[in-house]
């Protein structure tokens, strides 16, 4: 028992800083490519994005389970919203089958595309478009890509004029992978801790009574994880918003 909640919050911040740095590193060449010509072909964009993201998806025990660039309709000629998005290997996924190498997200194989009329209305696109800042969506069950419990990190990509957002570069982090990276640090604190998002939704908890996915109430103290929307709550209680009668 050798850590403080503040140190744990720093460890969380480190993990997210790592992913955001990666997104920023991908964004730069994508912005250059978009600047280079108005007649960008989808194949050229896809090839460039694949080259950037695939190495991270092919790592052993990858933190990122999906990554890519989602372009607004105007960027790629003659298309709607364009997904240059890859999924890491899927381990025996009961819905999508199993794959042992990264696969391109193919929305034509996702039936719910029918009722999701505009992807730009979804949180991971809408918020960066509104705030012009990077955003973390979730934790949530993502039924579009992996059918897994994930966090989606997205960062706006701008046109050369710096005004218009032309898409988002992003990555999906599986909650189970994040837990793998952080659980030991959390258990190194004597008091029960929960990592929660802005809504109080639990991402990771060392209190067995407060499980992942639930809404946590307030704790005896809380420490913000710098540069992220997450906080570490000390002695959290289950939320009072769910009276079960």
């Amino acid at each position: 028992m050798s850590r403080t909640p503040t140190e744990v919050a720093e460890a969380v911040a480190d993990v997210f800083r790592g992913v955001f740095d990666q997104l920023a590193a991908w964004r730069e060449p994508i912005e250059s490519l978009l600047d280079a010509g108005p007649d960008l072909r989808a194949a050229a964009l896809d090839g460039a994005v694949a080259e950037l993201v695939l190495p991270r998806l092919e790592e052993p025990e990858p933190m990122l389970v999906g990554a890519g660039f989602i372009a607004d309709g105007e960027v790629v000629r003659g298309r709607g919203v364009h997904f240059a998005w890859w999924l890491g290997p899927l381990a025996d996924n009961p819905v999508l089958g199993s794959t042992d190498e990264p696969t391109r997200l193919d929305l034509s194989t996702r039936g719910y595309a029918e009722y999701l009329r505009d992807f730009r209305a979804l949180e991971w696109y809408r918020i960066p478009a509104t705030t012009r800042h990077a955003h973390v969506t979730g934790p949530y069950v993502d039924h579009l890509c992996t059918c897994d419990y994930i966090l989606t990190l997205t960062m706006p990509v701008h046109a050369r004029d710096g005004e218009r957002m032309v898409g988002v570069v992003g990555a999906d982090v599986a909650v189970r992978r994040l837990e793998g990276a952080l659980l030991r640090d959390f258990l190194d604190v004597e008091a029960p801790l929960a990592l929660v998002n802005e809504q109080g939704r639990v991402v990771l908890s060392t209190d067995p009574a407060l499980q992942v996915g639930r809404l946590a109430g307030s704790g005896s103290a809380e420490v913000a994880c710098p540069g992220t929307p997450f906080t570490v709550r000390v002695d959290p209680v289950a939320s009072g918003s769910s009276p079960k009668i």
Binding site: T109, G111, Y115, Y140, C147, R214, S241
Partner: protein, 252 residues
């Protein structure tokens, strides 16, 4: 057809009689409208990967469908296997499917579907934030239930969105799988306007329970929803067994 229905059509198969399973899965997808008339099926290697079977098994399965007149295979660059356009034929197959399933099988499917949905609804009520509930309510109020086809698509969408709020990946996956396997039969009853009105009412009741964090009420409304649909399905079974039509006489 509901969200996720397509992926479940192509999800991995169990061991026995795999070519027949390939054929049955695709037949269901076609006659129940998950796969559209004229649509090109994924390539044979892609189907083999998705089903987790050998290429030869996929070819055998597609052969069964060709003989049944459900797909046609075209050669060449724009070639592949295509879903045949024949709605009358599809209704016939759907009727045969309803005859092929015993009452006890149909009601057992409804019991299982209802158990999963009720569990998801209860968890959603326990776990949804105010914002989640408001989003679901907003989505539902904009959803079109005016025709049977729109109602089936959007009811499937609603049930999946509800499962997503449970925060359980397993419940979402099972909901997707069940909707593909059984949803189309269960949603058959939405041909009748009276059923669409009742179902939309129950959907709103579920949303209210979710918004108020009332797990037991959400569970109860989900149970009533599935019970209503199961009764319509069993009534359709009785009709076809008596030699009548799939849809109710006064269905619109």
């Amino acid at each position: 057809m509901g969200p996720g229905a397509r992926e479940a059509v192509f999800a991995q198969l169990a061991d026995a009689g795999r070519a027949e399973q390939v054929a049955q899965r695709l037949t269901d997808g076609i006659v129940l409208g998950v796969l559209d008339p004229g649509e090109r099926l994924p390539s044979e290697p892609e189907l083999a990967r998705r089903f987790g079977v050998a290429l030869i098994t996929v070819r055998e399965g597609l052969g069964i469908l060709r003989v049944a007149g459900l797909v046609e295979t075209r050669r060449g660059r724009e070639g592949g296997s295509f879903v045949v356009r024949d709605d009358v034929e599809h209704r016939g197959i759907l009727t045969a499917r309803l005859r092929g399933l015993a009452q006890v099988e149909l009601s057992d499917m409804a019991v299982y579907f209802g158990a999963i949905l009720a569990g998801a609804a209860e968890r959603a009520a326990e776990r949804a934030s105010a914002e989640d509930a408001a989003n679901l309510a907003g989505w539902l109020s904009g959803a079109d239930f005016s025709t049977a086809a729109a109602a089936r698509t959007n009811q499937g969408g609603f049930l999946l969105e509800l499962a997503v709020l449970s925060q359980s990946a397993r419940l979402v996956r099972e909901q997707i799988r069940l909707q593909a396997e059984f949803g189309p039969l269960l949603l058959l009853g939405l041909a009748a306007e009276s059923a669409r009105v009742e179902v939309a009412d129950l959907d709103r009741r579920i949303v209210r329970a979710v918004a108020r964090g009332r797990g037991a009420r959400a569970r109860e409304a989900a149970g009533e929803l599935v019970e209503l649909l199961a009764r319509r399905l069993l009534a359709a079974k009785n009709r076809v067994e008596r030699g009548g039509a799939l849809d109710e006489p006064h269905a619109d």
